[in-house]
Symmetry: C2
Subunit: 449 residues, 2 copies
């Protein structure tokens, strides 16, 4: 039995490794177009911020180890281009430009996602960069070093934009951030997003909201001009961080079904519309545990879990993945930012009748030194009382607290049930009523008893 | 309708306040034997550690506020002594030693718990102290100041003993800790308790395990000798922190049913065996959500929640409290220590067939700076795969992570279900697979598929 994997990052290598452990006598071939496999992509902003570290520190397991210790036929520099489902084969181009054709019994498409680059003039200029692969990270870091970058324009204000903004500020680089939409973090309750916005501005970042971007042009002194309506923002470098899109074209060309946002549609065992082809990671869709509907949320844990799921399903232990809760956390300078489940608007769109509360609570007990303000939001369905989502922002205790809410969403708990949970209390860590419970207690007043 | 409350701390004042809000026209009388109500008892060790703060900083709401703003007839210095159930009355002794008798329609017993003081010679000597009430805290702090305490012997090694040990070390006081049992934290997995023990010893605390205590004697130079088998430990002060026992004698004398460890037995609406008498807080028992059986775990959140529950039940909105998960967290110097649910031994005693794993995991992502080791333990029932409990120890992220597990216990989740949860990941906060998930994935191998 030959298992072929297209894509050697989180999902692909997780699947390949676990499959080989499950079925040591099988053949596993991984086709990876770059020379990098199995690295911590999410760690790149922090690595770029530190001049003393190399990007290769982020490699979790080297290609050689997969080959020699794990017996995986890992072919880097191999770009898959066409899937022939009838022939059960993959065609592409190898390291030295030579064409290849490989037959598979089972195939995994783990091609990931790519940054969205708008079709506007100047986005191909030298110094206009995006961050997705380790090679992107190397290019950005080396560009900063070699060109003596003093100023950057970031297009976009999502997670990666904000993490990179922090990295640039660590390096004492001036940062202008710009995006077309007028709202800072549109999925976030305004009381919470205001706190994140102020933290960003407090660190000297210039935010330009609601500006349409027209083009990027070369300016004087190695500067680039990001031309917007009525203003041009200048920087030695432009980072395009406008989100990502699933790499699903090869799958679509092969006639596989696509799901939300063009991601490859898979069932709870990671199988595509072709029973011999699986998909996992940022290129594939998933079920959302709150809506029960398909969604596309490209994050690392899901990719790793789906990779394992493919390996187990192929080994005759079919998984039945419950799906994602939409948990996402990030650091913005000194702040922890966390969310899980649906925002108020997402809940409305999904057909719920949501009610919402947003509160401020102390992070530690009454009169305990060092207490700061934790901002907490929760959404529930008015009629059923079911919890639908939550958001937390604060200097401490936001990120790990969100996990309690994520578990509650997986279990379809009501606000009332959640409000009865025996959560942790000690003065250095929380008030007697944890902010999560205080939020739930407030929300309880808004749902039908 | 007259609602009488015996005891003016967490449970009693929560009940009184909420009842008065629920039913503004009713009469609420609170009988509190001390002059302190509504204070953060758990904050006392941290307050004692700081010479610049007064114990009264821990008062959350002053007696005057309850009286003038909330219309509660709060009688401090009133010690209830006898409950006459037939007569629906409480008899006791007032502020100036005068007897009183008060009739009730509904009664709440919220008498709390008292430190266990062994019946051995010398435990009544000057300088032998226990910490439970705010007045105890004042006495200890004032004793340290006025006597220039340089050394302390702590009898016991539970939460309060360890928190006070940290407070004494902050004040540069030499600490000897002693207890009869030979194991440091007997409910904890040895890999985890060893870490806590080493952290304690690293801060210069001398631990004496497995020593029977015979007496306390006066020594030279204002020192006290704690006489053990073969050794005498000396200190200017002795703190007795051997645990607490429920103040249930008055209830027992009145013929009310008692539960585990002599706590007052209550149903899920906080009603005792007498339908007109309720009990809440450290003096009452509760259901354990894992075993479904009665238990006695005296902690602050449960007391507050039960106080509210009494008020709501009396207001015609009867509560149906699910119970406690046994969540408890504390700080030991730089370490966060957390538990929820059952230990391996407790699970065996409760009739489960438990399996257990204990692992070490990094607190942050691969190659992320500042990562430390998180120690994680989990217990499940082998046959059903149901999660039964967990423990976490680490320099960061132990306390708030335990909440996810607590929610899982409330929901009777299996390890498999928990292992599928969409928990938070970002490099500064956790590895891709959160330590909780890694532990669950390991435990999954030990339960019946």
């Amino acid at each position: 039995m030959r298992f072929v994997v297209i894509g050697g990052d989180a999902a692909g290598m997780s699947a390949a490794s676990r499959f080989k452990r499950n079925m040591p006598d099988s053949e596993v071939i991984v086709l990876e177009q770059s020379n990098d496999v199995s690295y911590s992509a999410c760690g790149m902003p922090y690595n770029i911020a530190d001049p003393d570290r190399e990007l290769d520190d982020l490699v979790v397991r080297k290609a050689e180890v997969f080959r020699s210790k794990q017996g995986i036929d890992l072919r880097t520099g191999h770009r898959a281009e066409v899937i022939d489902r009838e022939d059960h084969s993959v065609q592409g181009v190898g390291e030295r430009g030579e064409p290849f054709e490989i037959h598979y019994d089972k195939l995994l498409i783990a091609t990931g996602a790519s940054p969205i680059i708008p079709d506007l003039p100047g986005f191909d200029l030298d110094g206009v960069m995006a961050l997705k692969t380790l090679e992107d990270g190397r290019k950005i870091k080396s560009f900063i070093r070699s060109r003596g970058v003093k100023s950057v324009v970031i297009i976009g204000m999502g997670y990666i934009a904000l993490e990179m903004c922090e990295a640039f500020r660590e390096l004492d680089i001036e940062v202008n951030m710009v995006k077309p939409r007028p709202v800072f973090l549109p999925w976030m309750h305004p009381d919470l997003s205001r706190v994140v916005q102020e933290e960003t501005e407090r660190h000297g970042v210039n935010l330009h909201l609601g500006l349409d971007i027209k083009a990027i042009e070369k300016g004087h002194d190695h500067l680039l001009n990001v031309v917007c309506e009525g203003i041009a923002l200048q920087g030695h470098m432009v980072l395009v961080a406008m989100g990502v899109t699933p790499n699903s074209r090869m799958a679509a060309d092969a006639g596989l079904e696509l799901g939300p946002e063009g991601a490859i549609s898979v069932d709870r065992s990671l199988r595509t519309s072709d029973p011999d082809i699986f998909s996992a990671g940022d290129c594939a869709d998933a079920y959302h545990v709150v809506t029960g509907q398909k969604t596309w949320i490209p994050l690392a844990l899901r990719a790793n879990r789906a990779g394992w799921g493919v390996a187990d399903t192929l080994a005759g232990k079919p998984v039945n993945l419950k799906g994602v809760a939409g948990t996402a956390v990030f650091k913005v300078f000194d702040l922890e930012v966390a969310r899980t489940g649906l925002s108020l608007k997402e809940a409305q769109t999904a057909g719920f009748h949501p009610v919402e509360v947003a509160i401020k609570a102390p992070s530690r007990a009454h009169a305990h030194p060092g207490s700061t303000t934790l901002y907490s939001e929760m959404v529930a369905d008015q009629g059923s009382g079911r919890l639908l989502g939550g958001q937390l922002v604060g200097l401490e205790g936001a990120v790990h607290r969100i996990n309690a809410l994520a578990v509650a969403l997986h279990q379809r708990m009501t606000v009332r049930e959640f409000s009865q949970c025996d959560l942790a209390y000690a003065p250095p860590f929380s008030p007697v009523w944890d902010p999560l419970l205080t939020t739930a207690n407030q929300l309880l007043k808004k749902v039908t008893p």
